[in-house]
């Protein structure tokens, strides 16, 4: 007989339901918040008439801007993935000295206000700085150039990719890798045949969230590279120079991109994480 068999059946833990009036109050508070989130977005979506969409699609400047945004966000995500996925694996599996410190440093950008990140990047990558000056001499200019957009996006979005990929790797039991090793796999083969396929959904979801973060970035980009304008800067620019109606079509297009990404991530995430 195993010890399990001899355990007494677990006693049911009675949990009294909250009082009706208390439940009602809680529900009302929750509903207020949900309305506050949904209301403004619905208000904006109501402006999505055929006319306004036609105007948006016919706007060459907006089309260029959207293209620039999607392209730079993709570049930032690929860079974050190339450097961040190996780091995420090390953070998930490794027991090296300073692991916690590295983890904290990677997460740091999350708490830094985005204009502050922009200022810091400007000081670091500007023409008169050591790093920026050196890179400018080999033809890589950041400030007021496309690489500046990518740099700002990378700074704010990499933590999302790294922490998401790290959790995806952590969810793969190391004993699965051990079984693979005992079945003849080298560490690299076990990673390729077991760990990566099992973590891939989580990594992909993290990459998409990180990409979406890049698409929505404004504060750091506007300081580093105002022109050429990504979509968020364009919306801001039109709002301040031409007023609200001019900003709406661009805002609608960006909202559509965001909603599509949101739906994709929900589909990718396993049910128990939803």
């Amino acid at each position: 007989m195993t010890p399990k068999d001899s355990l007494p059946p677990a006693a049911p833990s009675p949990k009294p339901p909250p009082l009706p009036w208390a439940r009602l109050g809680l529900a009302a508070l929750g509903a207020l918040l949900v309305l506050f989130v949904v209301g403004p977005l619905l208000r904006l979506l109501l402006l999505a008439t055929p006319a306004s969409l036609g105007e948006a699609l016919g706007d060459a400047e907006l089309r260029t801007s959207i293209g620039l945004t999607l392209g730079t966000a993709t570049a930032a995500t690929l860079l974050a993935a190339a450097m961040g996925i190996p780091l995420a694996y090390l953070l998930a599996r490794g027991s090296f000295r300073g692991r916690r410190l590295v983890e904290a440093l990677v997460d740091l950008p999350v708490v830094i206000p985005h204009p502050v990140a922009g200022i810091a990047l400007l000081l670091f990558l500007g023409r008169h700085s050591l790093v920026g000056g050196t890179l400018a001499r080999v033809g890589l200019e950041f400030v007021s150039h496309v690489p500046g957009i990518v740099a700002a996006m990378l700074f704010v979005s990499a933590p999302i990719l790294v922490s998401g990929a790290r959790e995806a790797f952590r969810s793969v039991d190391p004993r699965l890798e051990r079984v693979a090793r005992s079945l003849g796999d080298t560490p690299a083969a076990a990673f390729r045949r077991v760990t990566l396929p099992l973590a891939s959904r989580g990594i992909l979801a993290a990459a998409i969230l990180s990409w979406a973060r890049s698409v929505s970035e404004f504060g750091a980009i506007v300081i580093l590279t105002y022109n050429p304008q990504v979509a968020s800067v364009l919306i801001y620019d039109r709002f301040t120079t031409l007023g609200l109606p001019a900003a709406v079509p661009a805002a609608l297009v960006l909202l559509a991109v965001a909603l599509a990404v949101f739906g994709l991530v929900r589909v990718l995430q396993p049910a128990d994480h939803r």
Partner: protein
Amino acid sequence: MIRLRGLTVRVGGFTLEDISFEVPSGGYGLVIGPSGSGKTTLLEAVAGHVRPLRGRVELHDADVTTLPPERRGVGFVYQRYYLFPHLDVRENIRYGLAAGPLDPAAQADRVRELASLLDITPLLDRSIHQLSGGETQRVALARALAPRPAVLLLDEPFAAVDPATRQMLRRELRTIHAREKVTTLQVTHDFDEALRLGDVVAVLAEGRVAQMGRPDEVFRYPNSAFVATFIGTGTVLQGEVTRLAGGSTESPFAARFDSGPFSLEVVAEREGMAHAVLRPEDLMLSREAVPGSARNRLTAVVQRVERVGPISYVHLDAGRPLTAAVTSASADELGLAPGANVVVTVKATAIHLV
């Protein structure tokens, strides 16, 4: 052959100290010990997943202590099996063949051979999420056996299945072991399993080997109160051995063992404090004293009768709790029910002193 020489491993909170143990080629070895005694860690050290601090691991006369797991030729089945969730049953079994010398047709043959051996042919195209506990275990076993490992390591392989499946799997494992001729080392917390399966058993206690030998020997002659209690050999009494006046001066000698209300005749090898092991099957029960002189006689009251098929365990109060095993038929015949008065007799030679 699996030979551990002075193996010392420290992982997390576990320490295994100076483990030496040998399973002969083609043999079936068991390591038993309570939960948390480091049994899984021991297997992981044999498989090469954890590095020992000291000592050596030898598999079939080759020292593999510094070899990585993939070069040890070890099949490993964890307690929770760890089938690859992104692969179906067939792909799981074939996993270890991909890196091997077989061409795809031969790989498919080997998968079919194992599937038929383990009776899982109809499951081959299933997702592993559709398998029952027993089926999962068979697939894990097939996967581990597929590359024809020199050594098979099993971590509590029957812990996660129901008792009926467990019995069937045990029988099959014995057959498979004979057929595949793979030297096997299994860890378990269940001594019953050792008696049924093992050629050689080691009992782990606090990270050390407390006793090893043939399972029936360990069962008959536990070398410590811990081993006797852990393997459920019977009632363990602590007391004092005194040589009987006029008894032999040589060893072994006739003696008296005093423990609380008991004063038993025993055959001892030394005097002083000792533990006496009273095995359930050596306690004979009757309603009235049976004639005979050289027997220890105790009166007891039946507390509870536990029926396990043809055998009944009778839990007694003889001033101390005792457990006797009788056939269920004689339990009925004697009218053993809670509250019944019985006489317990035990031969002096049947009391094992440790």
